[in-house]
Amino acid sequence: MSRSIAGRAGAALPALLTGIALAFLAIPLVALFTEVPLGDVPSLLRDPFVRDALTVTARTNAVANVLIVGFGTPAAYVLATRRFPGRALVVTLVELPLVLPPAVAGIGLLAAFGVGGLLGGPLDDAGIVLPFSEWAVVLAVTFVASPFYLRQAIAAFEGIDPSLTAAARTLGAGPARTLLRVSLPLAAGGLLAGWVLAFARGIGEFGATIVFAGNVRGETQTLTLGIYEQLDADFDQALAIGILLVVLSGAVLLSYKLISAWRSSSSTSLSLFARTSSQST
C-alpha cells in the first residue's frame, strides 16, 4: 500500500517541478496583462512619449537589422565555407557579444567610439559625435544582436551538403549564382531563425544603449529605455509599454513558427524556401 503511494509521489514529483518551472515563466507575463486595466492600454500607448519611443525603436532597429543581415550573411557564408588559419578564433570573436553583459558592451562601445575613445578623435574630426545620437543606438543594437544572427547563419551554411554547391559549380554556376540559387535557399530556414533571435534581442536592448547612447527622447530613447524612465513616474505606462513589447515579440515568434510549419509540411510541393535539412538526395 505505502509503496504504491510512494511510487505515485515519485511520479508526481517531476510533474510538480515542471509545473513550478512553467508557472515561474508564465506569472510575470500574466501579471503584465492583469496589473493594468487592459482598457486603459490603448490610450496609454497613444501618449506622445510612447510614440516617440516607438519611432526611435522602429527606426534604429530597422537600420540595425539591415546592417546585421547585409553584413552578416556574406560574413557567415565566408566563415562557414572557407578554412583559414585562425578561423576558430574569428568565430569565437564573433560570438563574444553573446556572452558579454550588455552594460559591458555599452562601456566597450564608449571606449571605442565615445568622445575620448579609441576612434573618438578621428570621428570628431569627421564631425561625427556618436553619444546622444540615433546612430549610437544603431551601433549598440547591431553589436549585441548580430552574434545571434551570425551563429545561426554560420550553422545554416555549414549544414549545406558541400556536394550540392560543388554540383552547382560543375553545372556552370559561378560562386555568386551558386550562393544565390543553391546556398541561400537551402540556408534560408536557419537564416530566418537567426534573424528572429537577433530582432528580438535588438528591440529588447537596454544596457548598452543607456550607457553608450544616453536617454534622449526622440533620438535614443527606445521603448525599453522608456519603460525604465516611467517605472517611477507612471508605472501604468511602463506596464503598457511592456505589453506592447510582449505583443510585438510574440507576433514575430508566432510568424516564425507558422512559416516553419508551412515550409516543413510542403514536402513535395514547391515553395519559396527550402527545407533546413539539406541532405542531398
Binding site: S163, L164, A168, T170, L171, G172, T281
Partner: protein
C-alpha cells in the same frame, strides 16, 4: 576502377576543377584546363564537364525539371523525355526512387552539353535489382553518347559492362590502362590480376632474370582451370575443397586458395564435396607470370 580509398573520385574531382592537383596537366583535345607548369587552373564553371555524383547531389529545394534545367534550360525538356522522367518534372527529388534520381542526375549533367561526362560510382547507391537494370540503361546511353565519359567504380562488373578501356587505380597510382581483354590476358601485376578475379598462384623465385631477382606467381582465370581428383601429369595445384558455389550450369569450386570454374556436371562426375582432396589443373601452354 579500384578499391575504396584508391583515389578514384579524386581524379574526377580534379578533372571537374573541384580539387587542385599538385602537378600535372588536364586537357581536352589540346585545350588545357589545368597546367601546373603553365599556371593554368580554370574554375569548375569554366570547364565543360557533366559530373554525376555518387549520391547524385540533386538540389532538394528544386523540382526535377528545375534540377535538370539548372545546367541548361534549353535542353531540359528533351532530356526529361529521353530519360523517361518527364512525368516527374514537377516533383521534388525526395519523393522519387533511387533509380529515378540517378536518371535525373544524368539528365542534369548532360543538360549543359558538356565535353566530358564524369560518373562517380553511378551504381553503388542502388539496390542489387535496380543496379542491374540501370547498368543496362547506362550501357545504352554510353553507346550513343558522343562525348568521352569517365566512369569510376569499385565493381568489376560495371567496368566490364560499360567501359571501352579500363584504368586500374590503387593507392593513388595508376597500375594499368587497357581494354578488358588486355587486362585479363596481360595483367601488369598481381594486384591487377586479383582485381580481374584471376587466381594468383605463387610459383617460386626467379634468379638472374632480365629484371633481376624476385618472387613470381602464375595468373590463371577460374575458367582456365580444370579439376582432377588425382595428381595429373601437367602443372596443377593440390588442395582441400573449401566450398562449391553453383552458378547456373557451372560451379565455382574453391580448392585451397584457388578458385576453379567448372561445369556443374563435371563436379558431379568427380563426386567432389567439401573436405575432399582435389587438384586445380592449369591449362597447357606457357603460363602467365607476374611479379609477386
Amino acid at each position: 576502377m579500384g578499391p575504396s580509398g584508391a583515389g578514384k573520385s579524386t581524379v574526377l574531382q580534379a578533372i571537374a576543377g573541384l580539387r587542385r592537383p599538385d602537378r600535372g596537366r588536364i586537357a581536352v583535345d589540346e585545350r588545357a584546363w589545368f597546367d601546373a607548369a603553365g599556371g593554368i587552373d580554370l574554375a569548375p564553371e569554366s570547364r565543360s564537364v557533366g559530373l554525376v555524383f555518387q549520391e547524385y547531389a540533386l538540389f532538394p529545394h528544386m523540382s526535377v525539371r528545375a534540377n535538370v534545367a539548372f545546367g541548361g534550360p534549353q535542353r531540359a525538356d528533351e532530356l526529361l523525355e529521353r530519360f523517361g522522367i518527364a512525368h516527374l518534372a514537377d516533383v521534388r527529388p525526395s519523393a522519387i526512387s533511387g533509380g529515378e534520381r540517378q536518371r535525373v542526375a544524368l539528365a542534369r549533367a548532360l543538360a549543359r552539353g558538356p565535353e566530358v561526362l564524369l560518373l562517380d560510382e553511378p551504381l553503388s547507391a542502388l539496390d542489387a535489382h535496380t543496379r542491374g537494370v540501370v547498368r543496362g540503361e547506362l550501357e545504352d546511353l554510353l553507346a550513343e553518347l558522343e562525348q568521352p565519359a569517365l566512369l569510376v567504380t569499385h565493381d568489376m562488373r560495371d567496368a566490364t559492362a560499360l567501359a571501352d578501356r579500363i584504368g586500374v587505380i590503387a593507392d593513388g597510382r595508376l597500375r594499368q590502362v587497357g581494354t578488358l581483354p588486355e587486362l585479363l590476358d596481360r595483367p601488369a601485376d598481381a594486384f591487377v590480376a586479383r582485381l580481374t578475379g584471376a587466381n594468383v598462384i605463387p610459383a617460386g623465385a626467379v634468379v638472374g632474370g632480365p629484371s633481376g631477382d624476385g618472387q613470381v606467381a602464375v595468373v590463371a582465370h577460374p575458367w582456365e582451370l580444370t579439376l582432377a581428383t588425382a595428381q595429373p601429369a601437367c602443372a596443377a595445384v593440390p588442395g582441400v575443397v573449401h566450398g562449391i558455389v553453383p552458378d547456373g550450369d557451372r560451379a565455382r569450386v574453391r580448392v585451397g586458395d584457388v578458385v576453379v570454374q567448372a561445369q556443374a556436371e563435371e563436379v558431379e562426375r568427380l563426386g567432389l564435396e567439401r573436405g575432399a582432396s582435389a587438384w586445380a589443373v592449369l591449362a597447357p601452354g606457357p603460363p602467365r607470370l607476374v611479379a609477386n
